[in-house]
Symmetry: C2
Subunit: 353 residues, 2 copies
């Protein structure tokens, strides 16, 4: 039987997880090159750590290229800065690999490059190397970018984990998905679902009106602020598959249950009504400027108030806690029930990044 | 007037150079992030150096995906290992960013991933991080890969430059295009043009018969061998735009003339006859397993004989020298004349990598 790659194999949910484990990981797990890899590919975290270098990559195929609040340029820079930052790195430098369809308008190309430049200035991380490929008409629709990034262990990370260890032991000394323990608090830095909904509202065939703008933003400075407080054990940017996917990764890799409080999860009215109109769950919609962190409970209030003082964390909220009383992720709902929050099969909105 | 991106803007020659300088560099040259960048983007060398990390990126859009001697998988790994190695880095780790068209056959995908795995084992460099995107049918023809790579300064590089400095001063202490001086010898590691010709022979619409196989191979171990000898000042893998482009980059960035000896340039009979049949210049055809090095003349014979002892350098040859007597690149031809070797406008064979 011939099998084919499906859209859902790249949609950030459970199916992508299977696709990667079944078809990619087995070829790249063996062998040794004599270098130390504290966070290898097989951990499937947001970035790898090799010797003392943090390294990550992302290809961007977002559709449309320009959307309310951002474009493929700002998205590519922010996405890679964020993937470095959420494991506890200080981003050092980025690469830009352009793949362009012949005939792509030069003014749009420059608008994208300018947007990359502005976002990288905001983040304080430079693009230092690049590659440009042009393919004939029809070989690619328009434009795609790969951005990879390198960083080093953030100088504040050691003190952060010292603070953690005042209260309990900790498995890894990077901000990894597998670090949560019973009682840790889960904090999200703001309203969820904005990016996916903004994108969808702008796509052909949907065209519903909304004031929602993408939240795309580099989070390195926000994360730096909370590292100063200390006590952070895990961090993740909930992109494809949204909050539901990210929190399930925390739970799976830490082998601990998570109880979310629906009431505490910040969702704007506009996103909420767009989602109910479209029949999708805001928990499963992707974000590009939000971070979810796991924090030892003793530091949670201080981390929360520090986050709220940062422009990108004003709507931050403690949305739940790790708990050995449950398996997987459950949510206490506003109406008083409790429901399971599964890992979505894929993202309900394709090509969000 | 609306302007559009042309195929030649990504074809590795003079037009791509203009495209990058006019449309990309100006947005990424400013600003400072407080990190040291000994080899910045603006030098347009094969990789950048940031703090002590060497960093490079390449998107692979080769057509067809499978060709005599290799495939997009081996090409992507070798290409990135080579870009790190030619500036003087020891490659540490690679990333793999897959962009796949929905419906791409899974068995072909696995064949590519297996090929990446084998090539990375041969090179002794692991893939440590990745990204997978799937786009809907028609948004992309088949399959593309981005590979980025990180490395560190090769431990042999300091001794290599000590050897250089026994004979003369040297501008940069990395193997950069701008390091050549009057009298330096230019060595190529083997026959040129194999990759481009192998690819073309396999493409629809051409279908000429040839025994030529792509030379795709990781060059890090060959380069390590000659670094042990010392005296290397510049190195470059002549991919898009071929030898003609690479040697012109040496000449331009070092601000020194180069005299090539046509007789000394190794070209196989098959490539030679295919090129004359097609009316293209083998000097402009891309390679994926060759390196061109600039060496102080006192070490040239020793570097040559060391190269020839390595399986990937058996046909190595001293093909010319840097000379202040000429401007740009000229070639003394077999028939006794001298002709200018210009930087090609683009690669005569599109989508070779």
């Amino acid at each position: 039987m011939v099998e084919y790659v499906r859209l859902s194999d790249g949609a950030g949910g459970e199916l992508m997880d299977h696709f990667i484990k079944d078809n990619i990981l087995k070829y790249f797990s063996g062998g040794s090159s004599g270098v130390s890899i504290p966070v290898p590919l097989s951990m499937l975290d947001d970035a790898a750590v090799v010797d003392d270098i943090v390294f990550t990559t992302d290809s961007h195929t977002v559709k449309p290229l320009f959307f309310p609040g951002g474009d493929i340029g700002s998205l590519s820079i922010a996405g890679t800065v964020n993937d470095l930052s959420v494991v506890g790195a200080k981003p050092l430098a980025l690469s830009a690999g352009f793949i362009i369809e012949e005939g792509f308008p030069l003014d749009l190309f420059e608008r994208i490059v300018r947007s990359m430049s502005e976002t990288s200035s905001n983040a304080g991380v430079l693009v230092v190397t690049g590659d440009t490929k042009v393919v004939e008409r029809g070989a690619l629709q328009g434009f795609m970018i790969n951005t990879s990034g390198v960083g080093k262990r953030h100088p504040l990370l050691d003190d952060n984990f010292k603070e953690v260890k005042r209260y309990r032991g900790c498995r890894y000394d990077w901000l990894l998905d597998g670090n949560l323990s019973d009682g840790d608090c889960i904090i999200v830095s703001g309203c969820i679902g904005d990016h996916g909904v903004a994108l969808l509202s702008y796509r052909e065939g949907y065209g519903f009106e909304t004031r929602v703008r993408s939240d795309v933003a580099p989070l390195n400075k926000l994360i730096e602020c909370i590292l100063k407080v200390g006590g952070i054990v895990s961090a993740k940017d909930p992109t494809r598959g949204g909050l539901a996917n990210a929190v399930n990764e925390f739970s799976d890799k830490s082998n601990i249950g998570i109880i979310l409080e629906e009431e505490a999860i910040p969702v704007s009215d506009d996103v909420s009504s767009a989602c109910s109109m479209l029949g999708i769950d805001p928990l499963e919609v992707g974000n590009e400027g939000k971070v979810i962190v796991g924090v030892v409970k003793e530091k949670a209030e201080e981390v929360l108030s520090t986050m709220r003082q940062h422009p990108l964390g004003r709507d931050a909220s403690i949305i739940g806690r790790a708990s050995s009383e449950v398996h997987g992720v459950v949510m206490d709902t506003i109406v008083g029930g409790r429901r399971v929050v599964r890992r979505p099969l894929g993202d309900p909105i394709p090509r969000i990044c």
